[in-house]
C-alpha cells in the first residue's frame, strides 16, 4: 500500500484482487443449490412460469426479491392509480406518508399554477425530514407477481435519523408465500440494535435478535454467516455495515436517500394527484442516477403538504411489481413497542450455526 497526495492510504490493484479472492469463502454449497434447481424444475415450479426457487432456501436478511429483466414497457402513468392497491390485507398500518398532527412546513402549500421542480421537491423533503428525525420510520416493501403478493417486509427504524452516539433499533418482519405454504406466512422477525457511529464510519457491531418461524418450509433464518434454526430464536453480537448513504447514491431506499436523489435530478415531477386521500406530487425516475434497477418505470408519490414520501412502485406495468410505503410514527410507548421482536411462546433460545 502507498500513500496518496493527502497522506491517505492508496491501495494497489493487487490489494483489490486479493480482497476479491477472499470473498470466495462465501460461496454456497453446490449440492444445495443444485437440489433446489432440480426441485424447482421438476416439482413446485411449472416450466414456463416465473420461477420462485429462492423460496426453498433459508431466508437471509437482508433480502432481495428478483426482478426479471424484461423489455421496458412505458405504462401510461394514468394507469398507475389502478395498480396501487392495498398490499397487506388486514393491516392496521397508519396512513402512509403521514404523521398525525404534523404541521406542514412553512411555504410548502402546493401551487396549482404549475408543477414544482424536482430540485425544490427534494429540498422540501430534506427539510421535512428534519421534523421527523426522532420518529419511527416505518416502511412496508411488498413484492407482487401477477397480482399475487409474494412477500412483505415490514421495517421499523428508530430514530429515523439518528445522531452519532445515539442508540438505534431496526426491526424487520418478513412474510412470504412458499410452495409449501401458499399463503403469506410469518417467516422471520429480526431486530438489530447498535450505537450510531460517527460520520464516515459504516462498519459496526450490533446486537442481532432473530426469531425464525417454523412451518414455512425454510430450514433456517440467515443473517450474514449465522443461521438460526426454525422454531427458535437467537441473539448475537454481529458485524454489520450501514449501507444507506450518499455513497450508494440512488441505491439506498431510505427516504432521505430518495430525497437527495430527487434534489440531484434523478427524478422528474410528473403531476399533482391524490393518493390515500392525500394531496400528492407524482415523480418518475429518470434513469440518470448512478444506479438504475430494472424494470423502469418507477414512480414515487410525495405528500404535497408534508413532503414526506407516501409510496414508490417499481416496475409499473410489469408482471412483477414492488412497492414501498412509508409512514412516520411518533415515538410513543405503544409505537416503540413495535421495535421489539416478538418471541412466540414455546420458542427456545438457540445458538445460531455458522
Amino acid at each position: 500500500m502507498t500513500r496518496d497526495g493527502n497522506g491517505g492510504p492508496m491501495r494497489t490493484e493487487d490489494d483489490l484482487r486479493h480482497a476479491l479472492a477472499t470473498l470466495e469463502r462465501h460461496a454456497p454449497g453446490a449440492d444445495a443449490v443444485l437440489a433446489a434447481v432440480r426441485g424447482a424444475a421438476g416439482g413446485g415450479a411449472r416450466l414456463g412460469r416465473p420461477s420462485r426457487i429462492r423460496r426453498w432456501r433459508p431466508p437471509a436478511a437482508p433480502r432481495w426479491w428478483r426482478w426479471p429483466r424484461l423489455a421496458l414497457v412505458l405504462a401510461a402513468t394514468a394507469a398507475v392509480a389502478g395498480l396501487v392497491i392495498t398490499l397487506v390485507p388486514g393491516s392496521t398500518s397508519p396512513r402512509p406518508g403521514s404523521r398525525p398532527g404534523q404541521a406542514a412546513p412553512p411555504g410548502s402549500s402546493p401551487s396549482h399554477a404549475g408543477l414544482p421542480s424536482a430540485a425544490s421537491v427534494g429540498r422540501a423533503m430534506l427539510t421535512a425530514f428534519n421534523g421527523v428525525t426522532g420518529d419511527i420510520e416505518y416502511t412496508t416493501q411488498t413484492g407482487i407477481n401477477k397480482g399475487v403478493t409474494a412477500d412483505v417486509y415490514r421495517t421499523w427504524s428508530w430514530p429515523a435519523a439518528p445522531a452519532p452516539g445515539q442508540w438505534q433499533v431496526e426491526r424487520t418482519l418478513f412474510s412470504q408465500r412458499t410452495p409449501q405454504v401458499p399463503v403469506l406466512a410469518m417467516t422471520e422477525d429480526n431486530a438489530v440494535a447498535y450505537t450510531t457511529p460517527r460520520a464516515g464510519v459504516q462498519t459496526l457491531r450490533g446486537r442481532v435478535t432473530m426469531v425464525c418461524y417454523s412451518g414455512t418450509g425454510q430450514t433456517g433464518c440467515g443473517f450474514g454467516q449465522t443461521q438460526t434454526s426454525p422454531g427458535t430464536w437467537s441473539q448475537v453480537n454481529q458485524k454489520v455495515w450501514v449501507s444507506a448513504s450518499d455513497i450508494t447514491g440512488a441505491g439506498g431506499l431510505s427516504a432521505a436517500d430518495l430525497a437527495r436523489g430527487i434534489a440531484k435530478g434523478y427524478w422528474q415531477v410528473v403531476r399533482r394527484t391524490r393518493l390515500e386521500g392525500q394531496p400528492a406530487i407524482e415523480l418518475n425516475e429518470t434513469g440518470r442516477g448512478p444506479e438504475v434497477w430494472d424494470p423502469l418505470p418507477t414512480l414515487l408519490w410525495v405528500n404535497a403538504r408534508t413532503h414526506l414520501p407516501i409510496r414508490m412502485v417499481n416496475g409499473v406495468g410489469h408482471a412483477t411489481v414492488s412497492t414501498n410505503d412509508w409512514a412516520f410514527l411518533r415515538p410513543t410507548p405503544a409505537n416503540l413497542a413495535l421495535l421489539r421482536v416478538h418471541i412466540p411462546p414455546g420458542y427456545p433460545r438457540s445458538v445460531p450455526t455458522r
Partner: protein
C-alpha cells in the same frame, strides 16, 4: 465423430463450484449468491440444449449471473450483516492483524459501491476480463466500462498501474 454436447448435469458437476465462487465474489453475500445462481441455473436448465451449443457455455452462464445480479430488486435495508456472530455476553476481540482489518475495510467499501461499478471491478480484477469483454457482458460500450471502473477504483482509493494482466485469470481457475 461429432463432439459430445455437455449435458446440464455434467456442466453442473464440473463447473458449479467455480460458478458459485464467482457469484459469491460478485455479490459479496452468500444468500444472494445462492439466490442468483439458483435463478440462473433454473433458466439455463430449461434451454440447456441451445446454451450447450455455444462456444463457451460457462461464459454465457456467468453473463446470465451478472445480469441477474444487476437486475435484482433494489434493497431498502440500511444494515448489511457481515461475518459470523458472537453470542451476547461473549467477549469481543479486535482483529489481530492489521492486514486482515485493511482487507475487511476494502471489502466493506466494495460492498457499498453501486452494483454496476462493483460488477465491472469483479469482472476485471477477479475474472480477468478485458474491458471489451466486460462491455459485451454488460451490454454497454467499452468507454462506459472504463468510466465505471475509474469511478469504482477512485471510491476504493485503488491506484491503477496498468491494463489488466492475463495473470489474473489464474485466480478463478483454482479448481
Amino acid at each position: 465423430m461429432a463432439e459430445a454436447v455437455l449435458t446440464f448435469e455434467e456442466f453442473a458437476a464440473a463447473r458449479l463450484p467455480a460458478v458459485l465462487r464467482f457469484a459469491a465474489v460478485l455479490t459479496g453475500d452468500r444468500g444472494l449468491a445462492e439466490d442468483v445462481v439458483q435463478e440462473v441455473l433454473l433458466r439455463a436448465s430449461r434451454r440447456w440444449e441451445s446454451i450447450a451449443g455455444l462456444d463457451r457455455p460457462e461464459a454465457y452462464v456467468r453473463k446470465m449471473i451478472v445480469n441477474e445480479y444487476l437486475s435484482w430488486r433494489r434493497r431498502s435495508w440500511r444494515l448489511v450483516p457481515s461475518g459470523a456472530g458472537t453470542e451476547v455476553d461473549g467477549r469481543l476481540t479486535p482483529d489481530p492483524a492489521a492486514g486482515h482489518a485493511e482487507r475487511e475495510a476494502l471489502l466493506a467499501e466494495l460492498a457499498r459501491l453501486p452494483a454496476r461499478q462493483r460488477a465491472v471491478l469483479v469482472l476485471r480484477y477477479y475474472e480477468g476480463l478485458s474491458d471489451t469483454e466486460i462491455a459485451d457482458a454488460l451490454g454497454c460500450a467499452s468507454g462506459t466500462v472504463r468510466g465505471y471502473a475509474s469511478r469504482g477504483l477512485a471510491m476504493l482509493r485503488v491506484e491503477m498501474t496498468g491494463p489488466p494482466s492475463p495473470a489474473q485469470h489464474v485466480i478463478r481457475e483454482k479448481s
